[in-house]
Amino acid sequence: MNRRLRNALKGLTDPDIERRRRVMDSFVRATFESFIRYLYRYLGNEVECEDVLEDVYADIWEKPERLRNVTSDRELLRTVYLYYMRKRLREVYRRINRNLHLSQIDLKNLVAPELGVLEMTSQSELRQLLRRVLNRLKARERRAIELWMEGMSNRAIANELKTTVGAVKMLKFRTMLKLKKMLCDHCRED
C-alpha cells in the first residue's frame, strides 16, 4: 500500500467529521480506479457503478471504523466490498425484487456474492492468469470466449464457428465451468 493511501486511511478514522471530509479527497483519488473497476465486475454498467460508488464513499466517510486496521491493498478491497459495497449492490436490485421469480437469497448471491478465491484476485493478476488459462483451452473453446469478449452476439459467434446458436450456448457454458476450475486451481497453486 502506498504512503498516500496509508495517510488517507489514517485520516479517515479521525473523530472530527470535517477533517474526515477533507481527507476523502485523497482517499477517493487513491482508490477510485480500483474500486470502480471492481464494481463493474458485478454491475456491467458504468452509470450504476458511479452511483453505487458515490454512496459507498459517503458510507465510508460516515462509518469508517471497519477500515481502521487495514494494512494492504487487498485487505482494503476485501473490507470495502464486504462492509460497504455489498450492501449497496443489494440495494440496486431490491426495488425490482418484488416481481421476480428468484428467491431473495439467490438474488443476493447473483448480484453481491460471497467472496471466492477469484473474487479477491487483483485485476492485473487476473489478466495474466486469464491469458495463461485461455491458452490451455481447446482452440474452439478459446475462440468462442474471445469472440464473446469482443462483444459478438451468440448468432455471430455461431456463424463464425459454423455451428448453431444452441451449440454455442452449450460450448460457452462448458467453457465457463472449465475456466472457473482452471482459474481456481491456478490461484490455489500461487
Partner: protein, 107 residues
C-alpha cells in the same frame, strides 16, 4: 432473452450477455418461476457465474470510460454535505422535541 423455459446453459449465457451489456435487471425480470427454481438448484450455474464476472472485469472494465476522478470527487463531496445537513437537521429536531415538554410544564 424471450425464450420460455430456458435450459441452465441458456440461462447462464443470457446472464453473461446481460452483464456484458449492463442490463442485469432485464435478465432478472425475464426469469420465469421454473427458471428461478432451475437456477437455485444448479451448482454449475453458480460456478460459472464467477467465471463470467471475471471475464467481465478483465475483458470489458478496461475498455469502459469512467469519469475523471476530479469530477467524481465533487459528487462524493456533495453527497457528504447532504448527509451532514440531514444529520444536523435531525439532531436539531431531536433537541427541540426534547425541549418541548419542558416548556409545556412551565406554562
Amino acid at each position: 432473452m424471450s425464450d420460455i423455459n430456458r435450459t441452465i446453459e441458456e440461462l447462464l449465457v443470457d446472464y453473461a450477455g446481460a452483464l456484458r451489456d449492463g442490463c442485469i435487471p432485464v435478465f432478472l425480470k425475464s426469469l420465469t418461476r421454473e427458471e428461478g427454481r432451475r437456477i437455485a438448484s444448479s451448482r454449475g450455474f453458480w460456478d460459472a457465474t464467477e467465471a463470467v464476472r471475471i471475464l467481465n472485469s478483465v475483458g470489458f472494465a478496461d475498455k469502459v470510460l469512467f469519469p475523471k476522478v476530479s469530477l467524481f470527487i465533487s459528487r462524493v463531496d456533495a453527497e457528504i454535505v447532504s448527509r451532514l445537513k440531514k444529520a444536523r437537521a435531525s439532531s436539531r429536531r431531536k433537541r427541540s422535541a426534547r425541549a418541548r415538554p419542558l416548556t409545556k410544564t412551565k406554562e
